[in-house]
């Protein structure tokens, strides 16, 4: 196990060197967060399918409980129960459009992870940086529980629990717990916990900051102890159900899956769940007593419980929907937490956009009218006024607006259009519009994936380390 400890020290030192200007020491936050013996307990696994390239290289790593798909290279890193999902990487011959440029992709894109410690982190999508089209790099970075690295090359960063970096190249930054950043390119910034920041330079800028005193009851992370709060309790309470799907080789799900839908064998499906046509359920998703209508999806680390999603609903990575009814075309952003109660259901109208990292936690019935943009922290109907706006009204903003802790500047029309286009693209990529012939997406392509497992040295100095492994067709 000595080698594993040396590797941890190496990673921490490299991250700290990058973050020295931020005066941030990552070690107190992650030291013993995952005890070293825990890292030797779980196998890693990878997917093989005729629809995805297979090129995996692992060197001097621990990969415990992690999942890989596509073209991925991991070196000198610790990956604990992380998902590295390379099913949206660019392919040789693709044209990447950036501003007025059409840039040809020279080779299949690869996710490269060097000198990183990723804990229960999702890596997905592709590099949106025109300067690094073929390499989606993640270097000298530590990320903690349920962080999302989505289409975002990173160098020298720290990501707090339940944080998301989306379509942003980031260097030497500290991202606080439950913060969401989509800003194109940033460096040398510290983002306070609970910040939701979406910026397109020269077009628009959106920022919301969760009130820390209230956010702390949902997620609190300080050095010396693991993340705490409602979010952690919620996932920990359902942890056992996942242990079963990871322990059993052949698993039978208690639902009927239409031929156009995809249900990952590493998802947890509890009884009385309905899966409609073109539905995509990713690994580590949790469904219980819920109805997923045509074209709905549940991404990694999503929980949908006692809820009805009428159709074409995007439930982005890490979102949780409990005791809720969603009309068609509702988008629920990354790591959002939407919780009604059995006698106080939450209903969300058609075409609503729930911004990433939104918390709606209500003990009284709450209805969000159709066509609204919703953000922030909402407990009751009164909060809706301050934290939502009809999309049509938002589109008319052309200077700036401030509502409570939300500040927006620029073109509301561009902001809304960008979200709507992206939602459409996600549905398309997920196969929601498949007609039996055209518009195949993940729901159709991910149906036939075989899984192989790999394991580390069982004891000795190298205990926990995986040997160098190259997996190719």
């Amino acid at each position: 196990m000595r080698e594993l400890e040396k590797l941890y020290d190496r990673i921490i030192q490299r991250v700290n060197i990058n973050l020295r200007e931020r005066d941030f020491d990552v070690n107190p936050f992650v030291y013993n967060l995952i005890p070293t013996p825990q890292m030797t307990k779980f196998y890693a696994f990878y997917g093989i399918s005729p629809n995805h390239p297979l090129n995996l290289v692992f060197k001097h790593t621990n990969l415990s409980g992690s999942y890989f798909l596509g073209k991925v290279r991991v070196t000198n890193s610790l990956l604990y129960k992380s998902d590295i999902r390379g099913d949206e990487l660019k392919k040789y011959g693709d044209l990447f459009q950036y501003q007025e440029f059409n840039i040809p992709v020279d080779q299949d894109e690869e996710i490269t992870i060097d000198d990183c410690f990723l804990i229960k982190t999702l890596v997905h999508n592709f590099s949106h940086d025109p300067e690094t089209l073929e390499t989606f790099f993640i270097r000298d970075t530590v990320s903690t529980h349920y962080a999302n690295i989505h289409g975002s090359p990173l160098d020298g960063c720290y990501l707090g629990p339940f944080s998301t970096v989306d379509l942003t190249t980031m260097r030497d930054c500290v991202i606080g717990a439950y913060s969401y950043v989509q800003a194109g390119e940033i460096s040398h910034l510290s983002i306070e916990p609970g910040t939701v920041w979406v910026r397109k330079p020269d077009d628009f800028n959106f920022m919301y900051r969760h009130p820390i005193s209230q956010l702390s009851s949902y997620i609190y992370f300080a050095s010396g102890s693991p993340p705490q709060g409602v979010f952690m309790d919620f996932v920990e309470d359902r942890k056992e159900a996942f242990q079963r799907v990871f322990n059993v080789v052949n698993i039978e799900h208690p639902v009927t899956v239409p031929p156009s839908a995809s249900l990952d064998r590493f998802a947890v499906i509890k009884p009385k769940t309905h899966i409609g046509d073109n539905v995509l359920v990713a690994q580590r998703a949790f469904l219980q007593n819920s109805w997923l209508g045509r074209g709905a999806n549940a991404q990694e680390n999503c929980y949908i419980i006692n809820s009805k999603l009428k159709g074409n609903n995007v439930t982005a990575h890490g979102a949780k929907i409990i005791e809720a009814d969603l009309a068609t075309n509702v988008f629920v952003g990354f790591n959002s937490f939407l919780r009604g109660r059995p006698n106080a259901r939450l209903s969300i109208g058609q075409d609503c956009i729930i911004m990433p990292h939104t918390i709606i936690d209500t003990r009284n019935p709450l209805a969000i009218p159709p066509g609204h943009l919703v953000w922030g922290l909402i407990h009751e109907a009164n909060d809706l006024e301050m934290n939502s706006m009809p999309l049509k009204q938002f589109s008319k903003i052309d200077t700036r607006i401030c509502r409570g802790s939300m500040l927006f500047e620029g073109s509301g029309g561009s902001f809304v259009s960008l979200f709507q286009e992206r939602i459409h693209h996600i549905l398309e990529a997920n196969g929601a519009f498949y007609d039996g012939n055209l518009n195949r997406g993940h729901a159709q392509r991910n149906q036939n994936i075989s899984f192989n497992t790999i394991q580390p040295y069982p004891m000795g100095d190298k205990e926990g380390l995986y040997p160098t492994i190259i997996i190719q067709p």
Binding site: A183, L189, R199, N205, M207, R400, C402, S405, L407, E409
Partner: protein, 192 residues
């Protein structure tokens, strides 16, 4: 202008507003008022107070802007809002957010009385290397130093001691007068 040195144009420190390190903001305002009453050599009044340690050495300077900053409400949230510029927001957007926040915050009672008791050292700016100029430096050179550092004044030194303050207003006034004189000589020459 070339024939003038900093010492010809500076305000001697004895005529400038000064307060000791343990002074309050109110002490500094009184000192500024007193110095302004006494100083009649220029129509431009003093706009800063120098802070002296117990050995009468200058350790900082409190400008009108620093004084006004001290009156602004402060808490962790406002400090965060004031950093919004680094996230690409305009100054208008930042003040909009600040206004919204203050609207929903409890009123700050007796803001002047509270600010008056604050220590001047908490708000003063410590002079940096580029803000010192030898008293024998030509005004032309000092002017360059003022513009390159966007300073409102420079501290004039004799050896290791600060002996005066070269103010932007006085340099501007001298340059303006020199320009007027030169233009009037030129037009007189043309008329002959």
């Amino acid at each position: 202008m070339k024939n003038y040195c900093v010492k010809d144009m500076m305000v001697p420190i004895s005529e400038y507003a000064t307060v000791p390190e343990d002074a309050t903001l109110f002490d500094s305002v009184l000192a500024l008022e007193k110095a302004q009453e006494k100083y009649k050599q220029s129509r431009y009044s003093h706009r800063a107070v120098l802070i002296l340690d117990k050995n009468k050495r200058v350790v900082g300077r409190l400008s009108q802007m620093d004084f006004l900053h001290a009156l602004e409400p402060r808490d962790a949230n406002l400090d965060q809002i004031r950093k919004f510029k680094q996230f690409g927001f305009s100054r208008k957007a930042v003040s909009l957010q600040q206004e919204e926040y203050l609207k929903s915050s409890p009123p700050i009672l007796d803001v002047y009385s509270k600010a008056a008791k604050l220590k001047v050292t908490d708000f003063m700016q410590r002079p940096t290397e580029g803000e010192f100029v030898d008293e024998n430096t030509s005004v032309d050179n000092a002017l360059h130093q003022l513009t390159s550092g966007s300073n409102l004044s420079l501290l004039a030194t004799r050896g290791t001691h600060i002996v005066g303050v070269l103010r932007l207003a006085d340099v501007f006034s001298a340059v303006f007068n020199a320009m007027k004189e030169s233009e009037s000589q030129r037009s007189e020459g043309a008329q002959r």
